[in-house]
Symmetry: D3
Subunit: 225 residues, 6 copies
Amino acid sequence: MAAKHDLTALDLGRPARLEPDLAAYFEKCRDKLGFVPNVLQAYAFDNAKLKAFVMMADELMLGDSGLSKLEREMIAVAVSAVNHCHYCLTAHGAALRQRANDPELGETIAHNFRAADLAPRHKAMLDFAVRLTEAPDKIDDADRQKLRTAGFSDRDIWDIAAVAAFYNMSNRLAAAVDLRPNQNYHYTLRDKPPARPAAAVAAPRARQRQQPSGGRRKSRSATVV
Amino acid sequence: MAAKHDLTALDLGRPARLEPDLAAYFEKCRDKLGFVPNVLQAYAFDNAKLKAFVMMADELMLGDSGLSKLEREMIAVAVSAVNHCHYCLTAHGAALRQRANDPELGETIAHNFRAADLAPRHKAMLDFAVRLTEAPDKIDDADRQKLRTAGFSDRDIWDIAAVAAFYNMSNRLAAAVDLRPNQNYHYTLRDKPPARPAAAVAAPRARQRQQPSGGRRKSRSATVV
Amino acid sequence: MAAKHDLTALDLGRPARLEPDLAAYFEKCRDKLGFVPNVLQAYAFDNAKLKAFVMMADELMLGDSGLSKLEREMIAVAVSAVNHCHYCLTAHGAALRQRANDPELGETIAHNFRAADLAPRHKAMLDFAVRLTEAPDKIDDADRQKLRTAGFSDRDIWDIAAVAAFYNMSNRLAAAVDLRPNQNYHYTLRDKPPARPAAAVAAPRARQRQQPSGGRRKSRSATVV
Amino acid sequence: MAAKHDLTALDLGRPARLEPDLAAYFEKCRDKLGFVPNVLQAYAFDNAKLKAFVMMADELMLGDSGLSKLEREMIAVAVSAVNHCHYCLTAHGAALRQRANDPELGETIAHNFRAADLAPRHKAMLDFAVRLTEAPDKIDDADRQKLRTAGFSDRDIWDIAAVAAFYNMSNRLAAAVDLRPNQNYHYTLRDKPPARPAAAVAAPRARQRQQPSGGRRKSRSATVV
Amino acid sequence: MAAKHDLTALDLGRPARLEPDLAAYFEKCRDKLGFVPNVLQAYAFDNAKLKAFVMMADELMLGDSGLSKLEREMIAVAVSAVNHCHYCLTAHGAALRQRANDPELGETIAHNFRAADLAPRHKAMLDFAVRLTEAPDKIDDADRQKLRTAGFSDRDIWDIAAVAAFYNMSNRLAAAVDLRPNQNYHYTLRDKPPARPAAAVAAPRARQRQQPSGGRRKSRSATVV
Amino acid sequence: MAAKHDLTALDLGRPARLEPDLAAYFEKCRDKLGFVPNVLQAYAFDNAKLKAFVMMADELMLGDSGLSKLEREMIAVAVSAVNHCHYCLTAHGAALRQRANDPELGETIAHNFRAADLAPRHKAMLDFAVRLTEAPDKIDDADRQKLRTAGFSDRDIWDIAAVAAFYNMSNRLAAAVDLRPNQNYHYTLRDKPPARPAAAVAAPRARQRQQPSGGRRKSRSATVV
């Protein structure tokens, strides 16, 4: 596909000279991912905006939480599907395929999470995230109670809400500026795995709060967007 | 992803004994694609239903038309994106990647056709298809006139409408029975092409009525679904 | 009402020379109904399209099914009401008045099926058909289960879905081309019946699978559209 | 169709003893129409409510206006179609068939006014009425200006708005109480007229303020609902 | 804020010479409120229209009912919030603050009644009113039954429906003519009350049918709009 | 109004011990506003979340921009009105009344910005913000171009989008946790100003980039939420 533009539909001027910590962050992206995610490049016209975005995105998607990183990507993708956000479906679709190590699960949630074979916990989580996306003014105690019944703590509910809300922001900013995704995302984890159990996703046995995931920031955890 | 079921959420009984022409059609699918598309397997509990579906789908998607086969797949995918149809986005997403020989274009239209870099002809075509999907009761002469202005003949308008309408049917049948896509579709044409111009899609010079389509396209044309 | 055009808003050229079986079908329409339904005349610019449409429509509306023909017309009309389709409400409104031998039931479903005095079976059936029309992406197992609870088999569910989906197609094609209904439909079965029980519709005692309807293709059964 | 109830789904107690002017109004209905419209019978549990409703309905639909009575019925029916109001589509559908002396125009507007062959004045009028019904919060000067361009005075705009708004009220009250229409409406003016020009509706030459309406119209004007 | 216009966006000509009872009504407004509500001034171009509106509004909002006047204002404001009606939110927002003697409750319902701390009776009442506003065609027995369960009689249900329906009318008329609210409403009961229990609203103990409210028509009861 | 809870519907545990810079921020709030905004208190269970939120909110609402702070509050309130967010309408409604020094403008935008008397620049700005809120997937070049035509630079467009997107996030988080606004907001700037021209808002002569804002504005700028 020919590109309408490289990054956004806006002429935002020259990138700012990045502050040292942000320059280091970009360098880390290049090391780990091979590229700087376009959403960061778009924000890079202004150090303060870029920093605020990175801080919030990283805290939400990589910070300590009762939700696994996979679960947070599931929310990101399910919300972005409702909003038909090309950038986020591409970038977080790739992240979800990776986190789940399951290309099909990633694509299914990008299409319609109701078609995926989800554990009740994940069904409840995405039902809430999507309802919050579509009809925020109608959320009430019954909705919160369904999450508690599905095993989520009140802090988990905050996190589900915060991640779903964040992608309602990102989807809209991406749409408003017609943000292009990095080409690489399209081709990430597209191979059919030879022996893929994926059972952990389909039927998680327990809360994955403290995943013994060792090096928490593995190669793909370096950045979130 | 674990499977909720193999084919549909319904217990439709044993497949019918296929009539000879339908058996031959299935055989052709296996030869050319390596599998029988699940929508056909779902319909296979009844010869009459299967035959009617195959006839209509093949006529619409492979029959003579002022729309290229690629254009018809674009409509199929854009409509299915609005309806969040997992089966059709998977199956026709794969077909669109193939017809366009462009994985990124296929994914972009599956996300939101407005994010794709489309020629005005294709933008107008998909605008109409999506409006017909979302608000059929509001279509009027002004909508038809926009298609004529974009270079479509009245017969082309019929075809755009017929294909868009057909996927509004298929999307709903697939949703109603929770139709699973064949796994293969997820992995079709996912490689990054080493040197991809794709200009033909982005800026078609002329009506692609009689594409001198080489052997590869022929093989895919054997079945439509 | 003056006519904007005779048939459709499109100039589709001269009707095709009908293939013998289609010509015979048109002849049968004229014999039984006194006219050829306009949707068939609209399709008649192309034999292949006409044949595919007739096959599917007849299979769905007249073929063997656990749903009575009356029930299938109820679905057709309830779906067309949601989509505000003038052609289908006129043509299938007439068919529904005839099948039910109840002009008021026909009109009520054309307005809003919730205002009709329906048996629970029919309420469940139309609830599903309308939900599939309005929010296909939200259908899930709970929706299917409600149909089973109302006494429908899984094959019946397929048929409910297939008929509802088909009219989501037909409604959109009719809207896209501004299809005019035959004038006769407006005046079909409009008389107040002198002694009309209609109890069979309001409270069907049993599944009407094998209606002892003798000549299954009575005069009005000759064609479906 | 069997009746769920005679009048409404509510048990509103015995009808009030009508005040003399209301009793006379009911008597006039019986004389002219042969029955008392059910909406009036529903309101009859309370003299004050009945009187307020009759006053407003009659003023809007029969009072002096730059809109003809036919035009006001067109608005009533177009609004009721959006709201899928069975009572109003039945009662005002009948009134519209009579006012237009055109059964087909009445049915078409009850289905979807966009399918009717309307003069630009009427198209603009119903576009406004339906937009006001669907998205009242989005009406702005541009919408009002379209009516002026179509030849309406500012007083006419008030009347279009007032009639459209009134049926948004009536539709909701009827839905809330499940108001049944009188059976007679279903069978009013259903015959095909032998020689029907209908040109006056399709292409009105002039403002129909003071229609020299013959005796027949007078009889119908006695009551509005 | 500068005013786009004084009253409405329409040029409706000079006010009519008010009939004596209406002139007295306006005088009463000036005495009690200090001004004539703009909706009345807007209607004042025509005595018949003004009279019909006043009769209906006063009957609904001030007449005898199982609903307290406060409850009726709650419905008015909750409906107007859905329809984003500036006039009604301003005028009835002020009335609700006064009736409740609680500025915060008034503002909260004007924003989103689900955020207010409401008794179950009031939650059920506003759920119904808002559903009737948003989806009148979907109201059914289950909705009415919820009101009965919350303690409402069938006559109360009529009144809830009638008030909700009335503001669906008023909201639309106000939007259609861009009706300006009187400035005074903005500043009515805005002070923080020093010791405000408000418990009666938050948790009403009993049906407030016969409020021992003494002078039923207190100063602010003089007019309703 | 009795309070359902003090802060949120969630039990998030004890507030965290604030890091020094956040503790100082809270102290500044108490000094300048007299209280800590509840959204900050809600976030205060976790230093990292609180810090990320404060950074982003302050950068967007108080940072350097081609949009005045008043304009940014206009966006915040217009978006929150679409989403019916009680917290944001209360808190930012108060901020908007202050920034504009115009209680009526603040309330009007909280009801429906289309009812406000806005300069074309502000009408275009809020049209975009609301469209981005309601239909982010439909934004295209034409929408961006309207902003440029209204005098906005591409950097301004980014800021409009970023602020509108941010409140789509905040609105949803507030709804998800049922965040209560501080009582004080309800009573902020509610007095009718004795001589209020407000012309600067209604018809701004020039870009208000560097408002020579006196001491009073400065005090309010200390915190944003």
